[in-house]
């Protein structure tokens, strides 16, 4: 049998394969260049970029929990300008498509960010971070109110012809309603999920383990939540979906594809094993070969549900 076809279309976004790295888990990409993964990825989503550099939150910023971790980085980043000038050229040599994760504290800031990215050919798409749980202003206030989200997405849509991704929060009752708002605003793709708000306490010291008390939970612990939201959003909203949440094996990826995701982002698993994407891609190829599936896209949404659901 010929090699299975891993090339992937997520709406207007074309990728060499369906495996991307999630924002905030891959630095700006170059941190991984000597570990080999970079050459094999379908895409990279950058750390959230703002107009000006951001300092981030004081430590402790991370703590480990069973099957995952909490983080409260506070969107420390070098700013979009430094990224485009200092980092992006170094990523040019790799086939991975570069998606800019954008973060603003006002609709106007998001617009300016999108406008800055628009003329850059190496930018394959933009992902709006409207669901970061770890900053005082911005982000989440746009991601929890359908009306504001629709307005924000519509404003950014005017600035960009690039594939426009909106990253949804799991910390709302009905994430698909936010997905519908993003669609109305003109989003091309939805990515879900961002981290789940959580907390950890040290019983010995009686203190929270994070400086900011609350943080975002990621890792295998959140996979079932992510899978459910991907399934709901893909069925109810009608936009292509990128699945994120606790993915660390080829089997995890297949589950997300079956639930309705067209591609996936790998996050926390990279911290444990920077070679996770390669391992997943090898596993995915073997699975497709052994199952006689020619194109990975055949799996998208192919979950077989009981007839009475």
């Amino acid at each position: 049998m010929t090699e299975p076809d891993l090339s992937t279309r997520v709406g207007p976004l074309e990728l060499p394969n369906p495996v991307l790295t999630a924002s905030g888990t891959f630095g700006y990409g170059l941190e991984f260049s000597h570990l080999g993964s970079l050459a094999k990825l379908g895409g990279i989503v950058t750390k959230g970029l703002s107009l000006e550099p951001r300092k981030g939150n004081p430590g402790p910023r991370i703590c480990e929990t069973r099957g995952g971790m909490l983080n409260s980085i506070g969107l420390q980043n070098i700013g979009i300008e430094a990224f485009l000038v200092d980092v992006l050229p170094g990523l040019r040599q790799y086939p991975a498509r570069v998606v800019l994760n954008l973060f603003g504290t006002s609709i106007d800031e998001y617009r300016q960010l999108a406008r800055r990215a628009e003329p850059i050919p190496e930018v394959a798409g933009v992902e709006l971070n409207v669901s970061c749980p770890n900053v005082d202003r911005g982000g989440i206030e746009f991601g929890h109110d359908p009306e504001i989200l629709a307005k924000l997405v519509a404003a950014v849509r005017q600035e960009t012809t690039k594939p426009l991704i909106v990253k949804l929060s799991p910390n709302v009752a009905a994430p698909h309603e936010l997905g519908e708002a993003a669609r109305e605003g003109g989003a091309d793709i939805l990515s879900c999920i961002n981290t789940v708000v959580g907390m950890a306490i040290d019983a010995g010291t009686r203190r929270p383990l994070l400086h900011t008390v609350r943080g975002g939970l990621s890792g295998p612990a959140i996979k079932p939540i992510a899978l459910r939201i991907v399934f709901d959003v893909a069925r109810k909203v009608g936009l292509p979906v990128i699945g994120i949440g606790g993915i660390e094996t080829a089997s995890d990826v297949i589950e997300f594809l079956l639930a309705g995701a067209s591609a996936v982002q790998i996050g926390t698993a990279l911290f444990r094993d920077p070679a996770t994407p390669e391992r997943i891609l090898d596993g995915l190829r073997s699975y497709l070969r052994e199952s006689g599936i020619a194109k990975v896209s055949e799996l998208v949404g192919a979950v077989e549900l009981p007839s009475d659901t």
């Binding site: 888990t25 300092k55 430590g59 980085i73 911290f271």
Partner: protein, 262 residues
């Protein structure tokens, strides 16, 4: 930096809760700079999920055979699993990581360790001895058990032409009190041209203050919680004097005293 499969040669027990993990690792691991660290994958998949950072405590190279030692303290499940690892088991080791100590020529220097922070200083001591730079090793612990591998430090210090000064908070070994006591007296005499340190943040902050007061420069290896160890997760923030947060794993773990906002 490489992600290598290392084989556990043995686990050397010290008075609880300390242990030394002896690992055989591929030659590709070299070179390593004193103060650099590794991220070690710990046995099971979900708990602990993340790797654990360890200083490269010691190193033996015989031909293509490389053995590294990691000095640890059992704190949680991860370190417990490592302290009970069976000889022959395989652990993945990412490293060497970060910025290490910079060895500069001085007439005499001081190495200062608080407890298991000593793990970052043995390789440095050996290198100083090789370069004929005499050093005194100040080893502080809560009590006599909190001075793991003390004899190794004594030997290295003696080999360099220096000595080992021990303090314990409970007075069970050496002089009672903190290392800053005898170190402060020696600095008063102008004994050292440079300080190297590793230990809890409180101790390092005190040392940085002491060094500044005596006009002596120094470097410290910092310990913070770490997610990845190579600059991707931004979890290990260290307040830098320039106002930003530096990353312990990438900008450090070794910082000059005057780089950190203590």
């Amino acid at each position: 930096m490489r992600d290598l499969r290392a084989t556990v040669s043995s686990v050397e027990p010290h008075p609880l809760p300390y242990f030394t993990l002896h690992l055989e690792i591929a030659e590709d691991f070299l070179p390593v700079v004193p103060g650099q660290f590794v991220m070690v994958e710990v046995g099971e998949r979900l708990e602990p999920y993340l790797r654990r950072p360890f200083s490269v405590h010691d190193l033996r190279v015989a031909g293509s055979r490389v053995e590294i030692d990691l000095l640890g303290k059992v704190i949680g499940r991860g370190t417990h699993l490592l302290s009970t690892a069976s000889p022959g088991s395989i652990l993945r080791v990412l490293g060497p990581l970060g910025r290490g100590f910079e060895v500069q020529p001085h007439d005499r220097v001081a190495l200062v360790a608080g407890g298991v922070g000593s793990a970052a200083l043995l390789l440095l001591g050996r290198q100083l001895a090789d370069r004929r730079i005499p050093f005194d090793f100040y080893y502080g612990g809560r009590s006599s058990i909190d001075l793991p591998c003390r004899s190794d430090f004594e030997e290295a210090a003696t080999a360099s032409g220096g000595s080992c000064i021990v303090t314990t908070e409970d007075g069970s070994e050496g002089r009672e009190g903190l290392v800053t006591g005898p170190l402060g007296e020696a600095l008063e005499q102008g004994a050292y041209g440079f300080l190297y340190a590793c230990g809890p943040m409180g101790l390092l902050a005190a040392l940085a203050g002491l060094a500044r007061d005596h006009g002596v420069a120094g470097e410290a290896a910092l310990e913070t919680p770490m997610g990845c160890g190579y600059g991707a997760c931004l979890g290990c923030a260290v307040p830098h004097v320039d106002g930003r947060f530096a990353l312990c794993c990438k900008d450090g773990p070794v910082f000059r005293f005057d780089e950190v906002r203590w």
